[in-house]
Amino acid sequence: MKFDIGILQMAQDLAAHASSRQSIISQNIANADTPGYKARDTASFAETFAANAATRPARAGHIVFDTQAGVTESAAFSAESPNGNTVSIEDQMVRAAEVRHQHDLALGIYGKSVDILRAGMGRIR
């Protein structure tokens, strides 16, 4: 049986990207009142995936997915506070909702692909 395992790899990368982005967003929110803190965000999944595709090792078992590499200061959604802080909680909430969606999508795709594999082996649950 030939099954394109790439979809599982991509789902895994998407989930890893979502959780790393969630970590950055929660750091932004934790520092929402820290003077001089600049809001940060990771590069989008498409950009990170394209950058990683070039350097991906040949064996699928060797997972190298460095999402921390593309962390940059995110564009200020609102004006900077007088204390130099650029975190907008509303903006971060929108980003967090995106992350949630991305993570659910990744887990959904992963679960369904595994179900298809199981069905191929004649074990429909």
């Binding site: 959780s19 929110i29 909680i89």
Partner: protein, 125 residues
């Protein structure tokens, strides 16, 4: 997975910092009428892991409010005594802001927790 645990750690540090701020706001409000009381302030600092921590408490050095009340035991020759430099409006606005930031951190914590449990759900199938 470890990213999600880091997320929870940053959110918890944010909640701890905001509750310290809320505690000081309530101490200031409780002492609003204490003669000679100076309002306490707590600075927020970013730590290396992206979390937030509170720095040493310092006192607001602005002038104490002079209140005219000749019958007061602490009143001087001119009938004035020095009250606290607490401004209730500022303290209430500050505590409301702390409450909102606390809620945002809590929301992030909950989201990370839900993402973790849906990730673990894949193992349970």
């Amino acid at each position: 997975m470890s990213d999600l645990l880091n997320t929870m750690a940053s959110s918890v540090s944010g909640m701890a910092a905001q509750s310290a701020r809320l505690r000081l706001a309530s101490e200031n409000i409780a002492n609003a009428d204490t003669p000679g009381y100076r309002r306490k302030l707590i600075p927020f600092e970013q730590v290396a892991g992206g979390s937030v921590q509170t720095g040493p408490i310092h006192l607001d050095s602005s002038d104490l409010e002079r209140v005219h009340q000749p019958g007061h035991p602490m009143a001087g020759e001119d009938g004035y005594f020095e009250s606290s430099n607490v401004n209730l409006m500022i303290e209430i606005a500050d505590s409301r802001e702390a409450q909102r930031s606390y809620e945002a951190n809590l929301r992030m914590f909950d989201q990370a927790r839900q993402m973790t449990s849906s990730l673990l759900e894949l193992l349970r199938r």
